[in-house]
């Protein structure tokens, strides 16, 4: 398989979803500043090619286990923008009935699990075990940040997935920065895909700013897992435009470096490619932009008009066996 197998309609779909993630994020950044959204909001801008490229490679029934900045991954997994936005507003109509906000969205119907930090890797491994045990066709994509590599859970999960040959793909978004620490303070090995070798699984490094490259790598790993060939590790080298979260903007990050990366903006790059190589009309892309904007405006309106969860339900749904 190579990138030429993506036809124009598929590329337009990748463009549409990346645009959705970007615009959605820009919208909530504004809402956060205006105090409409509280709590911890992680941003994803700049990394859309990874989430979208990987998740678009999946069928709907496949699973995504994501970490922090997961509403991006959640949208990429085809969650309704209304449900995601309402959750960020903490409303009853939200994807988790407003219980969660955006920290660890879990939606069994969507086959999506958000989990915090490296804690998601073991859970994803267990989900893959459930698939294998039930002889299902599904594959689990587990997406996490580079700092997970300095947590033991990463290693334990890769080891377990390898021993049991589980249908799982580990996808590391290597964005070179934690909250403020450069990776060389965090992992002694900056070529993160090299950790695949001792665990006896294929490991590749891809340009995480190129959605097509991510998509192809994801499809290849998916095929292996689907065929019972076990786990893989993909390292996607990328860059996040803002700091790790709205409350920690990385003001002092080198402006020059950021400009270079911005020139590699995955959405602008795909746009140029669609207009150039593929001869797509500018109006087509503009129409997608407008449709996306309209869906986000609709989601905000929906969220604003939705009811709060009744306060007396707060202590409820702690135990499944209670209802």
């Amino acid at each position: 398989m190579d990138k030429h197998t993506l036809d124009e309609s598929q590329l337009l779909e990748l463009f549409r979803r990346m645009t959705l993630l970007r615009r959605f994020e820009e919208k909530i950044a504004g809402l956060y500043v205006r105090g409409k959204i509280t709590g911890h909001v992680d941003l994803y801008g700049g990394e859309e090619a990874v989430g979208v490229g990987a998740i678009c490679a999946l069928d709907l029934k496949d699973y995504v286990v994501s970490t922090y900045r997961q509403y991006g991954h959640c949208l990429a997994k085809c969650a309704a923008p209304r449900a995601v936005m309402a959750e960020l507003f903490g409303k009853q109509t939200g994807i988790s009935h407003g219980r969660d906000g955006a920290m660890h969205t879990v939606d069994p119907n969507l086959h999506f699990i958000g989990a915090i930090g490296a804690g998601g890797l073991p859970i994803a491994t267990g989900l893959a075990l459930a698939v294998q045990y039930q002889e299902g066709p599904e594959v689990v994509f587990c997406i996490f940040g580079d700092t997970a590599l300095s947590q033991g859970a990463f290693h334990e999960a890769l080891n377990l997935a390898s021993i049991w040959k589980l249908p799982i793909v580990f996808i590391c978004e290597n964005n070179f920065y934690g909250m403020g620490t450069f990776i060389d303070n965090s992992v002694c090995q900056e070529e993160l895909y090299r950790f695949a070798e001792p665990y006896k699984m294929p490991g590749v490094r891809v340009d995480g700013m190129d959605v097509v490259e991510v998509y192809i790598a994801a499809k290849n790993a998916l095929s292996l897992a689907r065929a019972g060939e076990g786990p893989s590790l993909i390292e996607a080298v990328t860059y996040r435009f803002r700091g790790a979260s709205m409350s920690n903007p990385a003001e002092d990050r080198a402006v020059r470096e950021e400009r270079i990366w911005r020139e590699r903006d995955p959405i602008m790059n795909l746009r140029r490619r669609l207009l150039g190589e593929h001869g797509v009309a500018e109006a087509t892309l503009d129409r997608i932009d407008h449709e996306v904007d309209a869906s986000i405006d609709d989601a905000v309106k929906f969220a604003e008009e939705s009811p709060e969860p009744p306060l007396d339900t707060l202590g409820k749904t702690v135990y499944a066996s209670d209802h």
């Binding site: 009935h97 969660d100 879990v106 069994p108 893959a128 698939v131």
Partner: protein, 314 residues
């Protein structure tokens, strides 16, 4: 009904639930070939095969996390943790994931996971302080079987404590495959009118022995076995304390911040006017467990300590 050990009762429960539900499986360090660090899973690998009785690496955090994921993927995992270190190494997954997922998903996702935790050191207090997690602490072989079956069938995550010193204890246990013990029902194991001794796990035996000794000095003690700490059946406890007017909580954990503190606080809250004396606690010394048999006896709560405290209360 047959006289079997606590260990055999657990093994029976596992077999019956493995037979009953294809989704049930066991995983943990040494649970297969070796039959479990304490031989609870002995013989299961031969019957159910490697798919359903899975030896795992020595990766406690990740095995519990994998149990959570497997539970969310439609299975009913039973994870055996081998040591007290294991419980603590896996704490983040237990408290921050297993216990919370149902709630943060708005009730959409369930985590029907059972964590079997053999314990030499009693750490149940940590898990009592984790909303979303059920905590089972059976003392008797019958309860071990009946509650393990309930745990396996439950939609919630359960941590199931097995005190190592109880594995060899024998008792009457039903062999009806439909036998199960409901959670959240304490059991009055001895009736009495002078003082209520609330206990669980190994301390139930100490409490019963103490009650027998107290009978010689004409003190009639009621002994309650809580059986589960979450749910906690305070109705039975409070009813007893209203009758006796005095209560002792006996537990194996460290005194300070142990489960006994919570139970005592709740007794005071609910039965203050019936109490003739403050609720007393008989628990372990607040020290790391020293080495050697006689020192274990010294540092742990004992029959003699319960007797002494009961005599002081009356």
């Amino acid at each position: 009904m047959a006289q079997i050990t606590y260990r055999e009762a657990l093994n029976q429960a596992l077999r019956e639930e493995l037979d009953r539900d294809e989704r049930v499986f066991i995983m943990g360090k040494e649970v297969g070939y070796f039959g479990g660090a304490f031989k609870v899973t002995e013989g299961l690998l031969a019957i159910y095969g490697e798919k359903r009785v899975r030896d795992t690496p020595n990766s406690d955090l990740t095995i519990v996390g994998a149990g959570i994921g497997a539970a969310m993927g439609g299975l009913k995992p039973i994870v055996e943790l081998t040591t007290i270190d294991s419980d603590l190494l896996a704490m983040d997954q237990i408290v921050n994931a297993a216990a919370k997922i149902h709630y943060v998903s708005g009730g959409k996702a369930n985590v029907p996971l059972v964590i079997r935790a053999p314990q030499s050191q009693s750490l149940e207090a940590y898990f009592l302080h984790a909303p979303g997690l059920r905590v089972f602490v059976p003392a008797m072989p019958a309860d071990a079987k009946g509650l393990l079956k309930t745990a396996i069938r439950l939609a919630d995550p359960v941590i199931f404590f097995e005190h190592e010193s109880l594995y060899g204890v024998k008792g009457e246990v039903s062999d009806d495959p439909d036998f199960a013990i409901p959670m959240g029902k304490a059991k009055v194991v001895r009736e009495g009118k002078d003082v209520t001794i609330v206990a669980y796990s190994k301390s139930v035996y100490d409490a019963v022995s103490a009650a027998e000794m107290l009978a010689h000095s004409a003190i009639d003690a009621e002994v309650i076995d809580l059986r589960t700490l979450n749910p906690l059946d305070m109705t039975t406890v409070v009813e007893s304390v209203k009758k006796t007017g005095r209560a002792i909580v006996a537990y194996q954990g460290w005194r300070t911040g142990g489960a006994g503190a919570e139970i005592a606080a709740q007794i005071h809250e609910a039965a203050f006017d019936s109490l003739d004396a403050p609720v007393a606690r008989v628990a372990s010394l607040d020290t790391p467990m020293p080495y050697g048999q006689h020192r274990e006896i010294m540092a742990l709560p004992s029959v003699a300590a319960i007797v002494k405290v009961a005599q002081r209360l009356i």
